[in-house]
């Protein structure tokens, strides 16, 4: 397991309605790899596979990673497993990845969370505060507050505003965000319907000024223009034919490439692969335009040329 990170559960406790907050440390207390605010951690769920959870601790704390996970009634296996974790348990993880970064060039940041979608913002909050940034967090929730202990200082400081939709109508995004002005950056993490509303409200904003993080990948319709192609590994020239609409991830693994995967829906960034030749068709929701010049997400990408050469 040298290609994964071994962690021990140092603390596990309830943190709001149906939420289990788990603090993970190195078995010997060694510092953990540095993470960026907004990063998520892939935990390896036995018998299920990798599941991505936002890190919600302060990135400046180097010897602990914290995740807060809501028990999903239609769990795919991950949240039920996390809820059974207790102090002393061993878990394995991949290197955290950040697909939801703070926009460094922005002069004002508005963060909008839906329920447990607050987790990436709990990691961003102390970083923004230390930067002296102009920022505000809106937490939309129904009934009891998610992660109340983590939110309390930000509520007291006037940085976080909570909106209980059980007692008042859900505020419109247009109200929370206002019109776009230069320097304004908006972020949203929550259920799919909420992200759809966020993306609708910010559709006319300049590219990149409104970012959303998905819990689960959106349903991806089959590509009607999908075509077969030959997939080639640059290292040894091994190749295989991928049928129209076939999974590049499956093809890579059949070639013996060790490619991580988690969401398998183009949002988590786990199966990012460098491509060298050909014409990939990007169908993910995570890579920036600049990144697509060199990388693709193998779980959803296709190819518009006869041949695609990748490094994996």
């Amino acid at each position: 397991m040298a290609r994964n990170i071994e962690l021990r559960v140092a603390e596990a406790c309830a943190a709001g309605p149906g939420i289990w907050r788990v603090t993970l440390k190195d078995p010997d207390g060694w510092p953990l790899p540095r993470t960026k605010p907004g990063a998520h951690l892939d935990l390896h769920v036995p018998g299920v596979g990798s599941r991505a959870y936002s890190l919600c601790g302060d990135p400046a704390v180097q010897d602990a990673w914290v995740v807060a996970v809501k028990l999903e009634t239609r769990s795919r296996g991950g949240s039920a497993w996390v809820h059974a974790l207790e102090e002393g348990h061993t878990v394995w993880a991949s290197m955290p990845r950040c697909t939801f970064p703070i926009a460094e060039s922005a002069s004002r940041h508005i963060l909008v969370a839906g329920g447990i979608g607050v987790t990436p913002f709990l990691a961003m909050a102390p970083v923004l505060e230390r930067q002296g940034a102009d920022w505000a967090l809106h937490v939309l929730h129904r009934g009891a507050l998610p992660c109340p202990g983590d939110l309390a200082p930000w509520i007291s400081a006037g940085r976080a505003v909570v909106h209980d939709t059980a007692v008042a109508p859900r505020p419109a995004f247009e109200t929370l965000l206002g019109a776009h002005v230069p320097g304004l950056q908006a972020y949203c993490c929550g259920p799919l319907a909420m992200i759809d509303a966020f993306e609708h409200a910010t559709a006319s904003w300049p590219s990149g000024t409104a970012r959303a993080e998905h819990f689960v990948p959106p349903v991806l319709a089959p590509d009607p223009n999908a075509r077969p192609y030959t997939l080639v590994l640059s290292q040894d020239g091994a190749s295989t034919d991928v049928p129209a609409g076939g999974s590049m991830l499956v093809a890579l693994r059949a070639l013996g490439a060790k490619v991580d995967a988690s969401c398998e829906g183009g949002v988590c960034g786990a199966c990012k692969v460098r491509w060298l030749e050909g014409e990939p068709v990007h169908r993910d929701r995570v890579l920036q335009p600049e990144e697509r010049r060199t990388h693709l997400m193998a779980c959803v990408a296709g190819c518009a040329s006869d041949r695609l050469v990748v490094e994996a």
């Binding site: 040298a2 290609r3 994964n4 990170i5 060694w30 510092p31 953990l32 790899p33 960026k36 290197m95």
Partner: protein, 171 residues
């Protein structure tokens, strides 16, 4: 066009050189940050006490491909300065993930040679190469800047304690 290399029969020339140990780092497992040490313990034929590539207790990222030359690895402080100069990218001694940061030693010249690290004796087995794993850990595009100047892999012939400031010189 033909390229003429020095004939194998030419007299070998030993350049006088003497460098020193600038920094020492180890980490117990893959992915974890390298931590600075004032002194490390080299074990002949095995590696460094507490490091992930010590043979017999390997937990490094590349431990699935065992290699005796991974017992101790070296990197030039001058390369860190060159990367800053050439790429405007700061790379710190703990970020190259080699164990010994050297100063005043042309590591690329030492493949196949034996030399002293303090009182210890090592033999360079090959040039180290950059890897995407470091980019993944650092979140910095350091792969290209490290090409052809990524340090040296060595096996330990005589162990002992190695300290920051110790001399590095031909055996």
């Amino acid at each position: 066009m033909s390229v003429t290399l020095a004939p194998k029969t030419s007299p070998s020339m030993t350049l006088a050189w003497r460098g020193l140990v600038s920094h020492l780092h180890i980490t117990p497992r893959a992915f974890l940050p390298m931590q600075a040490q004032e002194a490390i313990e080299l074990v002949a034929g095995e590696g460094i006490v507490g490091d992930r590539y010590r043979i017999g207790t390997e937990t490094g990222f590349y431990s699935e491909k065992p290699e005796e030359g991974r017992q101790i690895t070296l990197f030039e402080a001058e390369v860190l300065e060159a990367i800053l100069r050439d790429y405007k990218m700061e790379m710190l001694p703990e970020e190259h993930r080699r164990n010994v940061t050297t100063r005043g030693v042309a590591l690329n010249h030492l493949v196949g040679k034996r030399f002293r690290l303090g009182a210890c004796l090592v033999e360079a087995t090959r040039l180290s190469v950059p890897c995407r794993h470091i980019e993944e850990i650092l979140g910095k595009a350091v792969f290209d800047p490290m090409v052809h100047r990524s340090g040296l892999n060595c096996k330990i012939l005589e162990g002992g304690t190695l300290r920051v400031g110790d001399a590095i010189e031909p055996a």
